[in-house]
Subunit: 97 residues, 2 copies
DNA sequence: CAGGATCCTACCGGATACTG
DNA sequence: CAGTATCCGGTAGGATCCTG
């Protein structure tokens, strides 16, 4: 369900609130439109993300986590915690060697 | 670091204690020897798992988590919790439809 | 028992160009 | 803006066989 290179990052980004397609592109460094599009479709299929087309001009699309998607928050949070600590350790290694 | 199809399962299995190669094969349904071998090597390279060759006959090899590997426990635990709940939801869907 | 060596295939993921 | 279409290479990962 979270397979692929970008899904975790996407969910992480959406956990801060609704976002439009372009905002996600800007927010997630390195992702290409095609990848974002494909990953979002899979996330929607799995019921983790809700897609809403806004009738603006030109049209914009909002993405947000569903309740189901938010249920992953504990996992994502733990990953964030670990990543932070991990980076600290790397820096410590660099400065001590 | 946790890339690949099996690393999470391997760490999960090792979180219950040391295990030999065959025990891991038996414990992780569906994994082939080659895959287990490759994933374990990567885990060892990343310092998450410690490999110990026991001079029995024939030789056996013990794998265990390092302290670093155990630092992932909160993440794995949260995943386990989520997976359990997820399965409950699936079953509920099946019985109500 | 614990694995390496080979072979093979699907699909992951990037670049680019195009559309309503 | 928010995608889709197309092309393409690399590699993840499975099956099978072999070895100390």
């Amino acid at each position: 369900m979270l397979s692929g290179k970008w899904k975790i990052r996407i969910i992480g980004s959406l956990s801060f609130g609704k976002k439009r397609f372009m905002e996600l592109i800007a927010n997630i460094e390195g992702i290409a439109a095609k990848m974002l599009s494909k990953e979002l479709q899979e996330l929607e299929l799995n019921g983790l993300v809700k897609r809403t087309v806004l009738e603006t001009k030109p049209i914009t699309v909002q993405y947000e986590l569903t309740g189901y998607g938010r249920s992953l928050k504990p996992i994502i949070d733990e990953m964030a915690v670990w990543g932070k600590q991990h980076r600290k350790n790397i820096i410590k290694e660099m400065t001590t060697s």
